[in-house]
């Protein structure tokens, strides 16, 4: 009896979480006139006859006219370049901070950590100014370079590297391996848990990021998916929920796929990192 009520409560809460997505999906497949019904339907049904009436027209429209097809590809491209580059830069630095002794190391690390305290909004305008000064305003590089390292990720990777038994690396050193060989052959293969957490959270963050593309891009051909979606909402089509929901579905589906595939890693990692970058 008690158990049943716990499950009932859970199902209700899950419904609150999930129904908005189901409604988004249903709306995205409806014909324009079918969304204006007194009793809303979670299935794409004809307004008059109540028969199944799904369509892909909304997707065709937002992909072409709305520019979301190009924006989707832009987002994929940015994530494909940015996420691995960032991981490499962060992991190299984290390894040096964890294992290699060099003068000024610990002071430098503390200074870097201090940088985490400054809110992103404080950095936004001067960062944009620097990006302009470097000639990267309104370009793909302007999307990537100003995000290409993360102090938080360096910190997380360093903590993990520190937990690897140092004997393993010493053994390799004695066998004549160089620093970089140890990093590639010993440290990285042992670090897949933290590497995957950092990769996934970084992908989620940049796939979803709206603010930086919003300020650094002017050219609609370069828009990323969240920015193109926001522009769709702001356009005269913003009142046409069937278009907007098709756009939202395009933004949400890849992320849900990643969540389903990597759920264990994400849910473990999130407890430590949040979703910041």
């Amino acid at each position: 009896m008690r158990k049943a009520s716990v499950y009932l409560a859970l199902v209700l809460l899950v419904a609150v979480s999930v129904v908005p997505f189901l409604w988004m999906l249903a709306t995205s497949f409806k014909h324009g006139q079918d969304i204006y019904t007194k009793v809303p339907s979670l299935l794409p049904l004809d307004r008059r006859t109540g028969e199944w009436a799904a369509t892909l027209e909304n997707y065709a429209y937002v992909l072409q006219v709305g520019g979301l097809g190009r924006a989707f590809l832009n987002s994929v491209w940015v994530c494909l370049v940015l996420v691995p580059a960032k991981l490499l830069i962060d992991a190299l630095a984290a390894y040096a901070f964890a294992r290699i002794r060099f003068p000024g190391r610990d002071t430098l690390f503390v200074v870097l950590l201090g940088g985490m305290m400054v809110p992103t909004i404080t950095l936004l305008i001067p960062r944009l100014h620097v990006t302009q000064a470097l000639g990267m305003f309104d370009s793909g590089w302007g999307l990537i370079l100003p995000n290409v390292a993360s102090v938080l990720d360096i910190f997380l990777l360093r903590q993990f590297f520190l937990s690897i038994p140092v004997e393993l690396e010493e053994a390799a050193l004695i066998d004549g391996a160089g620093r970089m060989q140890i990093f590639w052959r010993v440290v990285l293969p042992l670090s897949t848990p933290v590497l995957s957490v950092v990769t996934i959270t970084s992908f989620l963050f940049h796939w979803n990021d709206l603010v930086w593309p919003l300020v650094v891009l002017n050219d609609p051909d370069l828009y990323t998916l969240p920015l193109a979606l926001q522009q769709l909402v702001a356009s005269p089509d913003g009142g046409r929920a069937y278009y907007v929901m098709a756009g939202a579905t395009l933004a949400v589906l890849p992320v849900i796929g990643v969540l389903l595939v990597f759920q264990r890693r994400i849910l473990q990692g999130i407890a430590f990192t949040g979703l910041k970058s």
Partner: protein
């Protein structure tokens, strides 16, 4: 491999396998170390340290991002705080943001705690429940804003339809000034998944022996929650309050998308009722080209965040004493 016993024995000749690190090897290590951190340090200098310092400098200037900045001393700060002709909505945005924080943070924490307690109480299917409750968190702000604009639609939105099922009259959520902040806060509570996961980790950390002891002593579920579970979750709650307040004070993307279009983003909703602090900052920077004033606003926010966090720490320490 190189056993410590062997290394400590003075008689043992230095074997060929244990190379002492010679000075040139150490120097090479220094070089490698610096090379490995160089890209990250370059990023830090160019895109973090320099922007942080220049934000402070520009906050004392009149600047539009294109022409050279002109030093104006404290004028930006005093104008923001006291000149309600130049910045008529500054205090409105402060009020809206504080209201939002005061509603969104408790609502999110309560929702997260309830979810965590329930997920923790079941064995079968808890992973599936956890996953589904987490879904809203990984969704892009732009998509969240788009979805909730449609859910809150006064005539055909799902929320009003559900309310009318229960005999509650539908509302024009995003166009009624008094309802805008609660409606936004509800969206943030919808996205409470991260807090839920962190609460779950906290719940797992409570030793079952303590709960069992309380049960044997005759404590019911409500008493156990109030007297045992909640006190033991205190550090978790504190962490979530601090991070939640810091995030709520900076809410932007959701509001920007929800009030996109039809000229509404310029005002931040009906009668500025959704004009959050960072939205106000963004509008001054990118609609009115007042970059200096926007930098000053960002430092006022920084100070506000530091003060709020310090107060929370102090509050907790006094309670602990």
């Amino acid at each position: 491999m190189a056993s410590p016993a062997l290394a400590e024995t003075p008689t043992a000749a230095p074997g060929p396998r244990r190379r002492p690190r010679r000075p040139d090897a150490r120097r090479r290590d220094h070089l490698i170390g610096w090379l490995l951190v160089a890209p990250a340090v370059a990023y830090f200098l160019v895109f973090l340290l320099h922007p942080a310092l220049s934000a402070l400098y520009y906050s004392f200037t009149d600047w539009d991002l294109r022409t050279p900045a002109r030093w104006v001393g404290l004028a930006n700060y005093t104008d923001l705080l006291f000149d309600d002709v130049k910045y008529p909505h500054f205090w409105t945005s402060v009020r809206v943001t504080l209201q939002y924080t005061l509603i969104a943070v408790p609502l999110t924490l309560v929702a997260a705690l309830v979810q965590a307690l329930l997920v923790n109480a079941v064995r079968r299917g808890s992973n599936v429940f956890r996953l589904l409750l987490f879904l809203p968190v990984v969704t892009a702000e732009a998509a969240v804003g788009a979805i909730w604009r449609w859910l809150y639609d006064p005539r055909y939105g799902l929320i009003n339809s559900v309310l009318e099922l229960f005999g509650v009259p539908g509302q024009n959520w995003l166009n009624t000034p008094e309802l805008v902040v609660p409606a936004l806060a509800f969206v943030s509570a919808w996205q409470c998944g991260i807090s839920m996961i962190i609460y779950l980790a906290g719940l797992k950390g409570i030793p079952t022996a303590i709960i069992e002891a309380a049960t044997i002593d005759g404590a019911g579920p409500v008493q156990r929650l109030r007297r045992v579970v909640m006190p033991m979750l205190r550090p978790t709650t504190f962490y979530l309050v601090v991070t939640g307040v810091i995030a709520a004070l900076q809410v932007f993307g959701l509001v920007y998308v929800i009030f996109s279009g039809a000229g509404r983003s310029v005002t931040g909703g009906p009668e500025q009722s959704g004009l959050t602090y960072v939205l106000h900052l963004y509008l001054f920077a990118f609609r009115y080209d007042a970059m200096g004033a926007a930098c000053a606003m960002s430092f006022v926010l920084l100070v506000l965040i530091v003060i709020v966090t310090a107060l929370q720490f102090r509050f907790v320490r006094r309670e602990a004493a």
